[in-house]
């Protein structure tokens, strides 16, 4: 009797499983169910799928690494990767340079500044599907506004989205229209954080406006720029919706990017297992990129 009383009372089972504050789970559960159900389960399931030959309709069978082997020499996948890289290589630097320029232009006390800022941000809020529909009218080869303007200027009409050599570039342009607003907000916020006294000190030392920008402001913006490079790259590599809304990968597959290729393999050609394997390779790249961003933050924190 006494020995039992002396020992620390064993924690009830519920407490051992649920922790010291079991009621916390009530609050966590809804979000946890959503995250597990909508993200974790599909991620695990598509990993399984990537080792199978499956059309999502019949049971399918296991094929080991055959899907991953096949994607090593798939010419269509290679050209899709090429398109994604071209898109990323253009979109990321351009969106950052334009974003910075616009942010600097908007970071001054001029009349109607609120209006300008809103106007720049507006396209960023519009859904990609809306952008796609809007621009496919503007850039229509025969009846679009873009060619009408070129006519007025005396420049030859262009094929735009209907020309295999131009379609991807036009998509970059549309993506910039919609995506530059994000760089602008981020840079605007960062510009407000540049210490006033640093700028003033540089002025006192005789720095011209460009000098201040180059030697004081830009270095202060470095961490934000790194973040933007990584973030916009992650977005570019996942490009899908704009392609779906404008060209569906055409003309002549000139705008088939990697994620669109995954969609096509899974839901048009019924090669779901293969599509999952491609998706996993893309995911591996994205994770590596995200790790790079974390690594940079850790390193710069250590130096600071």
């Amino acid at each position: 009797m006494s020995s039992e009383a002396a020992a620390a009372p064993p924690r009830p089972l519920a407490k051992r499983i649920l922790g010291e504050t079991p009621s916390a789970w009530v609050f966590v559960a809804p979000a946890a169910v959503i995250i597990v159900g909508l993200a974790i389960v599909p991620i695990g399931w598509s990993l399984v799928l990537s080792f199978r030959a499956s059309d999502l309709l019949s049971p399918g069978h296991s094929v080991g690494f055959a899907n991953y082997d096949a994607l090593l020499d798939d010419p269509d996948l290679r050209s899709a990767v090429g398109h994604t890289l071209v898109f990323t290589g253009l979109f990321v630097p351009l969106s950052i340079v334009f974003g910075l320029l616009l942010a600097i232009a908007l970071n001054r006390p001029i009349r109607l500044i609120g209006f300008y800022r809103t106007a720049i941000l507006l396209p960023f809020i519009a859904s990609t599907a809306v952008q796609g529909v809007l621009f496919s009218y503007i850039f229509d080869e025969r009846f679009g506004v873009a060619n009408a303007v070129l006519d007025k200027l005396g420049i030859a009409r262009q094929g735009f989205l209907g020309d295999p050599d131009q379609a991807l570039l036009v998509i970059v342009l549309i993506a910039l229209w919609g995506g530059v607003g994000f760089s602008v907000i981020i840079y605007l916020a960062a510009l407000q954080d540049v210490p006033r006294d640093l700028v003033d000190a540089a002025r006192v030392d005789g720095a011209k406006r460009l000098g201040v920008l180059r030697h004081v402001v830009l270095p202060q913006l470095m961490p934000v720029t790194v973040f933007l490079v990584i973030w916009q790259t992650l977005l570019s590599l996942q490009l899908f919706d704009l392609v779906y809304a404008t060209t569906r990968g055409g003309p002549l597959d000139s705008t088939v990017v990697v994620v669109y290729y995954v969609y096509k393999q899974a839901f048009v050609l019924f090669n779901a297992g293969y599509a999952a394997a491609v998706a996993y390779v893309v995911a591996a790249f994205l994770i590596a990129l995200a790790c790079l961003q974390i690594l940079y933050r850790r390193l710069s924190a250590r130096h600071a």
């Binding site: 809804p30 999502l56 309709l57 025969r142 055409g250 839901f267």
Partner: protein, 430 residues
Amino acid sequence: MASRARVLMTVVALAATALIAVSCGGDDDDGGSGGKAKLTFWHGQTEMWADCLATQIAEFNRTHKNIEVSSDTGGVVADRMLQKVTAGLQAGNYPDVAYVFGSDLANFAKSDKLVDLTDSDKIDIDAFYPAGRDAATVDGRVRAVPALIDNLAIVYNRKLFKEAGVDFPNDDWTWDDFRATAKQLTDDARGIVGTGWPGTGDEDTTWRIWPLVWQLGGDILSEDGDTVGFDGASGEGALSYVRDLSADGSVYIDTSAGSERMNQLFQSNKMAMIATGPWNLPDFVDAKVDYGVALLPAFQGEHTTIAGPDVWAIFDNGENRAKAAEEFVGWLTSAEQNLTCATQAGSLPTREDVTKLDGYQDYVNSLPGLTKFVDNLQNAQVRPTIAEYPQISQAMGKAIGLMLFQKAEPADALQDAVDKSNAALRVPGP
């Protein structure tokens, strides 16, 4: 402040829990025996046909006390049905009845969730026209019910023909005539183009070439079905024709998603001729286009065209619901109901007995040019219902795209398409 935040969080958490409870427990009613069977019906239609279907659903629910067909269409349009239903089957949450393109049925038939209707007492498949029957049959089993039978013909803009002083097409015209007419009617200065062809390279690009292939003596599959039947002269001739047509500058290559632009051009009197089916006629009437309908041109004599029958597919959500779905589809595809929405859908009769109904003449007269499409059914062939068809379509779509943009020689593009298709046909089925 803190307590207010906590209250807010509790409310949010409770709301989220409630949401989950509702969404998970909402409609797992599989209509236990004796109860009312509730059916989900993804008809995939928009505008006029959708409105007409809504009245049919209401009528069915009124006359069938033990079945309730939901008027919620799942927000799916026919174009995306394949993806939505595939994803739904994977997730275990799929409709009881869905509108499926004939060319997709063979792949759905691989799923054991697609109800086999061969022995159904509610569906009399023999009542339907052969084109619809073939499209609903996979490997000799009836796996769906014909929903709509259509075919391709040339719809032309009479106003533009008159303005250009060109004679209307007659029923003896050839592909050479078509090409010459398209060229004559193209007027870049006024923004008028002779004709159009979808250029995204998907099935909408591909299916329009099969009539040319058939007319030239080829087929989609060879006799034994092990290889394609469009290698050699028929495929090359068809591709060459597309290339020549495009080289004239009289083709609008529609690269928009879903090939909607072509129809819009035709409706705004900017395109002289469009190869399309009866489903477009209600839109053309709506847009007040003065149009006429001509058979597809021929190479020599035969005006062979393609019928693209679409079907109602029934998916198994438990026996009770499947039986109810059969009853609903049986009712929906009966001769009387077939005629009810035919005008709004711009659809042709799916079965012979429709033509004997009292309202049939009114229906034929309701849309100018409809009789031409009805007559054209005799010239129509269908695509094979095989699971490899999407791969063949993809390969051929690419070849046609190369012709439209004049980026390859017909023989090379064809060889590539034939090789890819044959490779797909060699892969053993599951």
